[in-house]
Symmetry: C2
Subunit: 342 residues, 2 copies
């Protein structure tokens, strides 16, 4: 009755061939040889390369009861491209290692690679290699992304200067509250499988959780506008935690303004529903994959009215610490929570 | 009583710092920036890069009851360096993603990274990044290795020509029989924990399983001697399977000679003990991480008396198929089994 094909019918080489056949597009000139040998061959010419690697595990980073495999594939690529974006670089190649349980079907793997493929299309990266293996536990996806940047142009976490403006792209806290919604609907569904999920007015925040985008659009725009941040990091663990990284590596302090933190209406509504402090969600929610960056005061005019950028604070002397100020000018030391995986 | 520290005491950032502190050596000029930012920065100059990625999962690729964490860390690096070696390239950087269960201690992670570090020392590669996360199942290690090679010098699987000599480094089948020994001793130990493992006359083959080496020594020597193979692959899945890859990608056939296949005395003895056909172990055992390569007949003099190289056959027309010949000149079609993970 079922049209699903067990992976065992295909075998490892069959699976590699299926993946190779799906991924035969070449976006980057620097890709000399992709999948099919012991290693891929890349020719970066005069460029510097940036390399970043992340791993997603079922039951830790995603829950397949509400995360479609296609979205998961997309997200696995996007979160790595986000790291490349945060270096002010252009992504060029990725490798993808996946481990699959025996219960996976060929169709499930195709769905996963559809998402990976779509992300490769959108970000113009070539999937040049990787490994497929079995897993006794859940699905594991490990991605390494490679990008290129002109010599000396990469933006590190360590370049923030006193009096720089602290900026962030997009809005924050949505992905975290999207996850709360999904978890709640899962519980409701498990209690009563007839129940339809109530996601109609939550589509934005749920989408932010399930299918985040790397802000490559912003990086391209920065380059067009001649904005080169003094420091940059992507918001994966939460704004507060990322700000701590920039401050500690740059040897500076920071003050950010509570009233300036960008947040979507749906995020605020969901925070109310869950009786959560929206500021805590914004500061510590994580998984927004926006870019947190600093620019010199002189760039103020390039930044101020841009719809994608919000100025949220300024860099201070290290001795002043890292603070959150309210509209009355009172400042309180910020706590970085980040994600506790252990 | 115990001196072990649970990972939860250290936290994720503490763990990253511990790893970063352990790995502060820089072997390669091309490493501009290692661990500590969104991505590492590499400057390959005029070189082409090769990139390869592999993932090892507990319960699938290794068994911690008999595989010490230090060896595992070493092996995770070595198997990736082996792919770089098989491209005729020099390894330069790696990224390492690890997922650990909550039961892991700080000391266990240190042991794992001691092995990773030792491999980085031996192969002169820089650990430039990666991800540490928790796992609900076992330990997962995903490594991406980057190497460099002069433009156009990489050796692919597709270059074998009719009449080329087929050569292999070292000996084959040992890692597979080492695994059989370890599995047997594990069973014996589980039946009777008082029992001491009998490994005295098995050290070579057990070592081949637990701590394989990438044959970078051979690649350096080839370069010194002016040998550039027409095709090359590392023996991870078994000689037969690798030979099929070379033949299918080069569009050729092959005949290898049973009598010429290099094997160690311990491998033969262990095969007898387990009542296994040693030729099957040599052809399909896998995990030897030797190099299988082809050279033009003209290179015969450079190869013939070299202690590390064995000429095992020759490349033929594709129409002749892939065969195993015995000393009486009879040839039988070869079967490629490889590893069945699914």
């Amino acid at each position: 009755m079922s049209n699903y094909t067990p992976l065992s019918e295909l075998g490892e080489f069959g699976l590699i061939k299926l993946i190779k056949d799906k991924i035969e597009v070449k976006h980057q000139e620097s890709t000399i040889k992709g999948i099919g040998d012991d290693a891929a061959i890349i020719e970066p010419q005069e460029k510097q390369l940036v390399v970043s690697s992340d791993m997603l595990l079922e039951g830790v980073h995603f829950d397949l009861t509400f995360c479609p495999l296609k979205h998961l594939g997309y997200k696995a690529v996007a979160v790595n491209v986000s790291d490349i974006a945060a270096m002010y670089a252009k992504p060029t190649q990725i490798t993808v290692n996946i481990a699959l349980g025996a219960r996976y079907t060929v169709e499930a793997v195709e769905e996963l690679y559809e998402g990976i493929n779509l992300a490769c299309e959108n970000y113009k990266v070539d999937l040049v290699g990787g490994d497929t293996t079995s897993s006794r536990a859940g699905l594991v996806i490990s991605v390494t992304a490679i990008g290129e940047v002109a010599k000396g142009e990469a933006v590190q976490r360590s370049g923030a200067q006193v009096n720089d403006l602290i900026c962030v792209t997009g809005d924050l806290g949505a992905a975290y509250l999207g996850l709360q919604i999904l978890e709640r609907e899962k519980q409701a569904f498990m209690a009563n499988p007839e129940m339809q999920p109530e996601l109609e007015d939550k589509q934005y925040i749920v989408g932010r959780q399930l299918r985040p985008e790397a802000r490559m659009d912003v990086v391209h725009e920065m380059k067009d506008k001649g904005i080169r941040p003094t420091s940059m990091i992507d918001v994966s663990d939460g704004l507060a935690s990322e700000l701590f990284h920039i401050c500690s590596q740059s040897g500076v302090g920071a003050t950010i303004y509570r009233e300036n933190l960008p947040v979507d209406e749906q995020t605020l509504e969901a925070a109310m529903e869950f009786n959560l402090d929206p500021i805590t969600c914004i500061l510590n929610g994580g998984e927004d994959y926006e870019l947190l960056f600093t620019v010199p005061l002189a760039d103020y005019d390039k930044i101020k009215n841009h719809p994608d950028f919000t100025i949220i604070g300024k860099i201070t002397e290290a001795s002043e610490g890292i603070n959150l100020a309210n509209k009355h000018g009172q400042a309180f030391p910020l706590q970085a929570q980040g994600w506790k995986h252990f």
